[in-house]
């Protein structure tokens, strides 16, 4: 059995499930926020701030944010392991892929920390 050390859940089946659950969470958030914005046509700051100040909304924001980060990692991992390969790019591909992977992890960690600061700073 091939052991992958860079996949999110350390197993393809685990990644498969996480990708779907996180996708459904993001979809639910999208429909909620678009529906909310459409029904609040002339939106002002206090209404917007009140929404994001509610604990249930902070939790929804946080769960969605973490879902986005996990979903992005699993997706980008699949793309990188498919295209940045020794077969397509030669012997330096493995090192190059690791550089890309670490860069993406850096960006996603920044997104997570920044997002949490926004969500819980309201």
């Amino acid at each position: 059995m091939v052991k992958t050390v860079t996949s999110f859940g350390r197993s393809g089946l685990s990644d498969w499930l996480i990708q779907r659950v996180s996708g459904v969470v993001i979809a639910a958030y999208f429909f909620f926020i678009v529906g909310w914005l459409v029904t609040h046509e002339s939106l002002d700051y206090s209404t917007w701030q009140t929404l994001h100040h509610m604990t249930c909304m902070k939790i929804f924001n946080t769960v969605t944010l973490l879902s986005v980060v996990a979903h992005a990692w699993i997706g980008i991992w699949a793309v990188l392991t498919d295209y940045i390969t020794v077969r397509l790019l030669g012997p330096k591909a493995t090192a190059l892929r690791l550089v890309f992977e670490i860069s993406v992890i850096g960006v996603l960690v920044i997104y997570a920390l920044w997002g949490l600061a926004i969500v819980w700073g309201v």
Binding site: R20, A27, A72
Partner: protein, 124 residues
């Protein structure tokens, strides 16, 4: 694993079916959306700072370049969402045949056109 076997599926030399384009677009839109998160977090951050910053975000979003950008982000999201829903449907065993796959790919494209048009109406 020492792998010296020939690779027959060289995607650079074969004519791609519609399902392949829908799959590649799913990946490309996903990669683009990772970049879009930075913009969306920036907007969210400012919109919640103060009433003045909220007004600034509103003014920013009403400019034509920002409307085009938001429409593009919505288009990428809508496409990615629909292609994702297709995956969930196929996970349930629906449309797994060659013909079913093609039908699913066409449906994703058709619904994307409708969704992106609606998003355009919403943005403007």
């Amino acid at each position: 694993m020492t792998d010296k076997r020939p690779v027959n599926l060289d995607i650079g030399t074969i004519k791609l079916p519609i399902t392949a384009y829908v799959s590649i677009l799913h990946r490309a839109s996903g990669v683009a959306l990772i970049g879009a998160i930075a913009i969306l977090l920036g907007l969210l951050s400012y919109s919640l700072k103060s009433a003045e910053d909220f007004a600034a975000v509103q003014a920013c979003l009403s400019s034509v370049p920002m409307k085009l950008l938001m429409w593009a982000v919505l288009a990428a999201f809508i496409y990615h969402l629909l292609a994702g829903i297709k995956h969930l449907v196929m996970d349930m065993g629906i449309g797994e045949t060659l013909e079913g796959g093609k039908t699913g790919a066409v449906l994703v494209l058709v619904f994307t056109v409708i969704g992106v048009a609606l998003a355009g109406v919403w943005v403007w």
